[in-house]
């Protein structure tokens, strides 16, 4: 069995750093895309036009479905269905799609709650002035919803850093899988997984603090 001396080498460090990079990449890209798509879904669900009723139904169905599937099941389903369309896509790309699909559903709900938090009279005030739906959103609703949306969205993203560990099952060499590979090479499981655990905490803890700080800053004073 390999000892601790062989563990603390630049090789291991570089290997873990690469894995950490993939963990962050999946989270960052997946959650950013998820935020944009979730925003679209939230807006679709807010519309009131009778013509858009099927779109509202689909958006609602999507959100309900993907919030009731284990991320592991989403990963496996995406792996086997996406590659039918794009067999050249890397496993990292496939995992990122899975993150996007899940994040879209959760962030759509967060964004919807934020938009709903803007009092109805604010929207009516804009409506009676003849502002178009887009202008109402851009000048009145979004500027006020932003402070309600951003903190939980940031917290969700920090949480998802940890959930991407399941992408190890696909064979994406992210942080959790990196730990497993090191242990399979013969390093002690305590050392291998312990190091990975510490790396997760080192990333997640400051990010979590930053998200909490953001919440204090945005929610307390409503005006500059």
């Amino acid at each position: 069995m390999n000892g601790a001396a062989e563990f603390f080498t630049t090789d291991t460090a570089a290997f873990l750093a690469g894995a950490l990079g993939r963990t962050l990449w999946m989270t960052l890209l997946g959650c950013t895309l998820g935020f944009l798509l979730g925003g679209v879904l939230a807006l679709v669900r807010r519309t009131r036009q009778p013509l858009l009723a099927p779109a509202r139904l689909l958006a609602g169905l999507y959100v309900e479905t993907f919030r009731r599937l284990p991320f592991l099941v989403i990963l496996i389903l995406v792996l086997f269905s996406v590659q039918a369309v794009a067999p050249g896509l890397s496993l990292l790309g496939i995992a990122t799609i899975a993150v996007t699909l899940a994040a879209t559903a959760y962030l759509a709900e967060i964004i919807r709650a934020g938009l709903d938090a803007v009092p109805r009279p604010q929207v009516e005030g804009a409506e009676v002035l003849g502002l178009s739906a887009l202008d109402r959103l851009r000048f009145v609703v979004l500027p006020q919803a932003w402070g309600v949306i951003l903190p939980p969205a940031a917290a969700f993203m920090v949480m998802f850093v940890k959930d991407t560990a399941l992408a190890s099952h696909l064979g994406v060499v992210e942080l959790a899988f990196a730990g497993k590979i090191l242990v399979n090479k013969g390093f002690s499981p305590t050392l291998g997984f312990g190091a990975v655990l510490v790396l997760y905490a080192l990333v997640s803890w400051p990010l979590g603090r930053a998200a909490a700080h953001l919440e204090k800053k945005l929610v307390a004073p409503r005006h500059r």
């Binding site: 002035l129 000048f139 006020q144 005006h223």
Partner: protein, 245 residues
């Protein structure tokens, strides 16, 4: 031809009728006050007129032309001629007083920003808030917010102004400043429909008073006749209940 002609207007949600065939007219320059107990449909009437609550029957004509409330283009045209001030002000919390005034003229009337701002400053000066252009709503008192809201409605240069219990949410000592603003406004000749519980003010300023109850018009007429010699018993009992307080 009346400027505003409301005929058999009805509205409600589900099986609940809130407006039950309301008819009334207003001539150019009229100041029409809607009075009556809570829940009589006064505020709903204003919300239907401005297109926030869809009517379930009847017609609204402006200069003889019927308004199609189901058509968004018609609504947009309507809101260029008619504006409303709410009980709760509904000022945009994320904008300064001046930005509240300029947003709609710039975005919907296509007025140049500099021109809109100059006009906005004028209007703020008219409501006595020239120094508050850069203030956010939360930094203003209720009375000041309501005066900004009136200025915002005027920025759209409406022919008809709707005022929905604009003093109800204010501290008693702030009511006077808002009523003064409306008095000044009345002298400009703008047509107004207002819902108010300030009976002295109603009697002083109105050209016409409309008594409503249970979604219907009980009686309408000049303030002197409604206040001193009401024909209907419902109006008389309402007046007595108010005077007793």
């Amino acid at each position: 031809m009346s400027l505003l002609d409301i005929a058999e207007l009805s509205a409600g949600y589900g099986g609940n009728t809130i407006l039950d065939g309301v008819s009334l007219t207003a001539e150019r320059g009229d100041i029409v006050s809607l009075i009556g107990p809570s829940g009589s449909g006064k505020s709903t009437l204003l919300r239907v007129l401005i297109g926030l609550t869809p009517p379930t029957g009847g017609t609204v004509r402006i200069d003889g032309a019927a308004v199609d409330y189901a058509d968004s283009a018609a609504l947009k045209a309507l809101r260029r001629r008619m504006s409303i001030v709410f009980q709760q002000f509904n000022l945009f919390q994320n904008m300064t007083a001046l930005d509240n005034l300029t947003l709609a003229p710039v975005r919907t009337l296509g007025v140049a920003r500099a021109e809109a701002e100059a006009r906005g400053c004028d209007l703020l000066a008219k409501v006595g808030l020239a120094d508050k252009a850069g203030a956010y709503p939360a930094q203003l008192s209720g009375g000041q917010q309501q005066r900004v809201a009136i200025a915002r409605a005027l920025a759209m240069q409406p022919e008809i102004l709707l005022l929905d219990e604009v003093t109800s949410a204010l501290d008693p000592e702030r009511v006077g400043e808002v009523l003064d603003t409306i008095r000044t406004l009345a002298e400009t000749g703008i047509t107004m429909l207002l819902v108010s519980h300030e009976m002295g003010f109603v009697r002083e300023i109105s050209t016409k008073v409309v008594m409503m109850d249970a979604g219907r018009v009980v009686e309408a007429g000049p303030p002197a006749s409604i206040f001193e010699s009401p024909r209907e018993t419902r109006t008389r009992s309402f007046m007595q209940a108010i005077i007793r307080h």
